[in-house]
């Protein structure tokens, strides 16, 4: 946390770097039900100090519920949350001292940017409240950090969406939070702003070093930004891993299907290889045992072949997809639809059928 020549002492104070090292967050079989509807089925997670973790999943996967439980905005129906070993569930939302950034900013519309950022400091009890000059110094340092210097007298409705979200982050950082929680922070922004803010958030995290959770349904955002990605589905954690692990070694068909583009074909495993309609495809079973299984591959990880074992079938449709042409192919006797990418200059076969082999693939037991 020290030895950062680019940060002046005053700025370091403003960024909460005098608060000591970032904390470890441990989630132990946390469950949550809304009435009879379960939202979380006992999830467990251990996050190292200073880690930047993405909670990734479709809507309804429980990722926001988990974040709100960490913040103290919702109470779990079971399980424990530990901040550096201390039971966080015993603490109120105020005592937890977390920085929460909302999807729709939740800036105080009747306050200027300055007052918004200063809010968390000005509501402190008198004995812990910094003097006015100190508050001012911190707010201005934070405005500098989020690259909004000079806008302190604006009102939230005079700012763009991206600027508002940066004010929201500065406001959360102002209270020197122990953990930073971001709920779909870029969800309401357009694509270009989102990309810029992503890079910028990573830089801020590298400078401030908070243990950070952010919720997203955007896989690109999760993979690009996070140290570790937690993939969630239907209230359960499907996989926890680095972006490389998540992308290259998905633990379940759900993760494989949710991260990146994918095609699935139901197959059978016999003698350690993958077979389709009784014929071997000469693809290693990758540890899957005898019986029914699902073959998964990325549309771009295929090779067109003219002979030998292959997946083949009639081309149903073709359309332009970035630099490639994407074909939808009906494969095998079961007529399963699979998508593959071929080079734009590959001529459409006169027969209307095509044969291909995955060059990289995963096998999931059915």
């Amino acid at each position: 946390m020290n030895a950062r020549p680019d940060i002046r002492p005053a700025e370091a104070v403003a960024l909460g770097e005098t608060e000591g090292p970032a904390i470890r967050v441990t989630v132990e079989s946390v469950a949550k039900a809304f009435g009879d509807t379960p939202a979380l089925h006992g999830v467990s997670l251990d996050v190292a100090p200073g880690e930047l973790v993405a909670l990734l999943g479709p809507s309804g996967s429980g990722k926001t519920t988990l974040l709100r439980i960490l913040a103290g905005l919702d109470a779990p129906t079971g399980g424990r949350v530990l901040f550096d070993g201390e039971d966080a569930l015993q603490l109120t939302v105020q005592q937890r001292n977390i920085g929460f950034v909302f999807q729709h900013y939740a800036l105080f519309r009747n306050m200027t940017v300055f007052d918004n950022i200063a809010f968390g400091l000005t509501v402190r009890p008198r004995d812990r409240r910094p003097p006015k000059a100190e508050i001012r110094r911190r707010v201005l340092a934070l405005l500098d950090l989020v690259q909004l210097a000079g806008l302190e007298r604006r009102y939230p409705n005079q700012l763009s969406g991206g600027q508002r979200q940066r004010v929201a982050l500065a406001r959360a950082l102002a209270i020197e939070p122990r953990v930073l929680l971001l709920d779909e922070p870029f969800g309401a922004l357009d694509a270009q702003v989102r990309k810029d803010l992503r890079r910028w958030l990573r830089e801020i995290h590298d400078r401030t070093g908070h243990t950070t959770f952010f919720v997203t349904h955007d896989q690109d955002e999760a993979l690009e930004l996070a140290d570790r990605v937690v993939v969630m589905s239907k209230g359960r954690i499907e996989q926890v891993g680095t972006p490389d692990q998540i992308y290259d070694a998905p633990a379940s068909p759900f993760v494989f299907g949710f991260i990146g583009e994918s095609s699935f074909v139901p197959v059978e495993i016999a003698d350690g290889t993958v077979t389709l309609d009784g014929a071997s495809l000469d693809l290693a079973a990758l540890g899957a045992t005898h019986g029914k299984a699902t073959l998964g591959f990325r549309p771009h990880d295929v090779a067109i072949v003219s002979e030998g074992p292959a997946l083949s079938g009639p081309i149903l449709s073709e359309r332009r997809h970035g630099g490639m042409r994407r074909l939808e192919v009906e494969v095998g006797a079961g007529r399963h639809r699979a998508e593959i990418d071929v080079a734009v200059d590959v001529p459409r076969p006169a027969s209307g059928t095509i044969a291909f082999r995955p060059t990289k693939w995963r096998v999931f037991p059915a």
Partner: protein, 297 residues
Amino acid sequence: MSDAEFTTARLPGAAAVRFRRVTTERAPVRIALVLVGIAFLGLFLLLPLVAVFVEALRGGAAAYWTALVEPDAAAAIRLTLFVAAIAVPANLVFGIAASWAIAKFDFRGKSLLNTLIDLPFSVSPVISGLIYVLLFGAHSWLGPLFKSAGIQVIFAVPGIVLATIFVTFPFVARELIPLMESQGRGDEEAALSLGASGWQTFFRVTLPNVKWALLYGVLLCNARAMGEFGAVSVVSGHIRGLTNTMPLHVEILYNEYNFAAAFAVASLLAALALVTLAVKSLLEWHYADEIAATRKH
């Protein structure tokens, strides 16, 4: 002649076709609609208002002034102000509490409370007054109880205050609830997560977010509290100089064929309505930016 020139040459002819916005009507329709609107406003709003002031000043400024400072009239004015001074703050507190509860929390019976708030709007004011007579009258079970404690409720000031509070019950809450509901709980959650206590959150975030709607609700509530006739008439007993509010005093004067005095007091009530509207418009005009900021975000 190239294609481009050909097109250009034809353009003036094309301009002969009139293009209208799809949301705009033809001139005769527009004029007719505007005239109907103006006629309606003039006939039903402006004309009676003018009539009140004309009638009030018919006997001259001196007679007008005498009618207002006459002891019974002065007492009625004082009583009206006194009742409003209790009813409006009471409903201000209640309205904020109820709309806060309804908009920011989930609890059993929420929709029931929401419906109950509207009750004074749907019940005839006369019924509201009768309810209080039944509750606190000489033959009720609460009336003798209060009487033995030395408090006269019906045909006295407490009854008038109660009836007025009942009738003006919904004004503040009805202004606040839709706004608070549309604003959601995000701001409050943000404030709490930043370490603010419940009261700090309320006074620094929730209340400022609705201050314009609140002011508007209070203005309407006040106008109605001062102008209420039906419910107050039932519980007041019409004792001159004691339990007569301004609207009741107007009625008595009118029934006594004292038209000039009746209209003089009525003009005061009408002026109050005009001032209310003027203040509201002035605020909206002066703080347009800030009001827009609290509405959309």
